[in-house]
């Protein structure tokens, strides 16, 4: 696919060059030629997008018909998926009720939103801090080493994270209880203590994700032209002022995009983290249960595809609404950074 598009671009490029020559030969004020030239440019841009658009249609937009599943009670009939889908009963919003059963709904929504907001705020702050740190360290070799190390946790699968957390928090063998024993304090069964887990989960999530975010910010920082800093230095700006007035504003667009995307996912609870890290301990549910884990657990027995689709749809719609609100407010206050 890539080869094809490169060939196409070469052909089109030569075509366009030829047209440019024609353009120069003609009168430059001829508006007719101006508009044709602009249209061609738009078509060229769209050609650049074409392979991506095809991918999006096949992988993301065509499957949207699956959303119908959220409103039907699926039953199999001899004749394949579409026939079965067609004949299955409409149950409209029945598949959504299990998500909103009063008390449970409040707990999982509170947990999901609460954790995600903390993750976004704290995560952005820490990753930007680290990115600036990486770029400012004098010893480049050391900086590279630290970058690699901090990125490491991203590779660890959630199941292993559960075990690693357990190596700290286990009653008999955990490091924390070991430390307590040293000071003659009685060990605590951490997996029954709800209060401490929000902190543990935030720390684990930070450990897991800031490597990823920080290198994105680092790339953005490295793209800032050096001459800006040199000019500021000549003007007598201190290092701290340089960071405040050059670095951070230059990466503001990147920060806004990352935050926007994170907001879109605010109704998704990071399943791996919340399911495995507390070792699926039941007594911790009030502080560790989020929408994704709730759906998974509730449907573990019935595996009702309609209800899973309903949960997906609910999370997507809520995320979409929030993104629109955020983008809308950006359009008002900071139109340059509004995404659409």
């Amino acid at each position: 696919m890539a080869v094809c598009s490169i060939k196409c671009t070469l052909i089109l490029n030569s075509l366009l060059n030829k047209q440019r020559e024609d353009y120069y030969l003609m009168s430059t004020t001829n508006s007719e030629y101006k508009t044709r030239f602009r249209l061609n440019k738009n078509i060229l841009y769209m050609l650049m997008l074409l392979p991506g658009v095809i991918w999006f249609i096949c992988e993301m937009y065509l499957p949207l018909f699956g959303l119908i599943l959220a409103f039907k009670q699926f039953h199999f009939y001899r004749g394949g998926f579409f026939y079965s889908l067609f004949k299955s009963k409409w149950v409209w919003f029945d598949n959504f009720t299990y998500l909103f059963s009063s008390h449970e709904a409040w707990v999982i929504t509170r947990n999901t939103l609460g954790y995600n907001i903390v993750f976004i705020l704290l995560g952005t702050f820490l990753s930007v801090f680290l990115a600036i740190g990486f770029s400012q360290m004098l010893n480049k070799k050391l900086s590279k080493l630290f970058q690699t190390l901090i990125f490491c946790p991203y590779f660890i699968t959630p199941v292993v994270i559960g075990y690693l957390v357990m190596s700290f928090m286990s009653y008999e063998h955990g490091a924390v209880n070991g430390l307590l024993k040293l000071f003659n304090i009685t060990p605590i069964n951490w997996y029954n203590e709800q209060g401490v887990w929000p902190y543990i989960l935030v720390i684990v999530d930070m450990w897991w994700t800031i490597g990823y975010s920080s290198i994105i910010y680092l790339a953005a920082i490295l793209g800032i032209g050096q001459q800006l800093y040199e000019a500021a230095e000549i003007e007598g700006a201190s290092k701290w002022q340089q960071i405040r007035f050059i670095t951070i504003p230059s990466i503001k667009p990147m920060i806004i995009v990352m935050v926007l995307i994170a907001i879109g996912g605010i109704f998704q609870g990071n399943f791996g983290l919340f399911y495995f890290a507390p070792m699926k301990s039941g007594s911790l549910f009030p502080v560790t249960q989020v929408i994704n884990t709730y759906t998974f657990r509730a449907l573990m027995f019935t595996s009702n595809v309609g209800m899973t689709s309903a949960a997906c749809l609910y999370q997507s719609v809520m995320g979409l609404i929030l993104v629109f609100v955020f983008n809308g407010s950006l359009r008002k206050f900071d139109p340059e950074n509004a995404q659409f």
Binding site: N13, L49, G52, T148, P153
Partner: protein, 306 residues
């Protein structure tokens, strides 16, 4: 006369003391991040008996290479899986980066009439997930991805998230004056793209290459859906299968009317699972310096002379 080589201090560098403090802080974070990885490695070197008795320890009571011996036993399968993972990662990353940068560049141009529409077109799927049954249906039945490399590469080929990142990156790093100058000189759009924009964006491109490479390397979900044959199983899926199988049999041993001890005898121990984990993680980690070279190289590329 002896000429002493003094370390070049650029005027924009931070002071020595700040450097030391900063290095220490970042260093502590780095140590905290790497600690569990080393722990993983130590666990893979522990004897199974030591795990049962003492749990996971940084310094296990008994060392043993039994985990790696098990790996040697399944050696040929591990090798095949590695090959698959490497092919998918390299091929997928290249394809991915081409698609993503082309798309991102297009929508980053202010003179593209439909850029707002196509930005939303790319952002919408990020938020709106239609569930995996429909995707599976299309991929397996319409597009025929079962048991083929396409099934491992195409589903991850584009990340809407990275499109947006690259778009922002292009907007902030490439001065439009540069593009205008090139256009006046008579260059076509595509030539501008790969002769001017791409070299300037090395840090960005290197970053998303790394992230996509990691995404491909770590992916076990798509292989789970589309691959049945052991000869096409990548390393991460092998790991997931091995670990999950053990868990499953243990969980259900009371319902399964069979001797679960016998079944589990043929499965790896917990330490072996960590050994596979170590082997699954180290290679991709080692590619990080390779990408870093390009990320940092962008630092020295000059800007526009006003």
């Amino acid at each position: 006369m002896i000429v002493r080589k003094k370390s070049k201090r650029k005027p924009t560098d931070i002071s020595r003391t700040s450097n030391v403090t900063l290095s220490i802080i970042v260093g502590i974070v780095a140590v905290v991040c790497i600690y569990p990885i080393i722990l993983m490695f130590m666990i893979s070197l522990s004897a199974e008996k030591s795990i049962v008795m003492n749990g996971f320890n940084f310094f296990p009571a008994h060392y043993s290479l039994e985990a790696y011996r098990y790996l040697f036993k399944i050696g040929s399968q591990l090798l095949t899986s590695y090959m698959i993972t490497i092919i998918v990662t390299v091929g997928g990353t290249i394809l991915s980066v081409c698609l993503i940068t082309l798309y991102a560049y297009g929508i980053s141009r202010d003179d593209f009439k439909y850029r707002k529409f196509f930005t939303f077109f790319a952002l919408f799927p990020l938020l709106f997930n239609a569930g995996f049954v429909a995707t599976y249906l299309i991929n397996s039945q319409l597009l025929g991805f079962t048991n083929s490399f396409l099934g491992l590469i195409i589903p991850l080929a584009i990340s809407p998230f990275l499109i947006l990142i690259m778009r922002t990156y292009f907007k902030t790093t490439i001065p439009s004056a540069l593009i205008e100058a090139a256009r006046i000189d008579g260059a076509g759009e595509f030539r501008i793209f790969y002769k001017i924009v791409v070299p300037l964006s090395k840090p960005g491109i290197a970053t998303i290459s790394l992230l996509q490479a990691v995404a491909y390397w770590n992916d076990w979900w798509d292989p789970l859906l589309y691959i049945d044959k052991p000869s096409m199983t990548p390393v991460q899926l092998m790991l997931q299968k091995t670990q999950a199988n053990m868990q499953f049999i243990i969980n259900n041993s009371s319902s399964m009317s069979t001797n679960s001890i016998e079944l589990l005898k043929h499965m790896p121990t917990q330490t072996a699972i960590f050994a596979i984990l170590v082997l699954a993680t180290i290679p991709i980690l080692c590619t990080y310096p390779f990408f870093q070279k390009y990320v940092v190289s962008g630092m020295t590329v000059g800007g526009v002379k006003d």
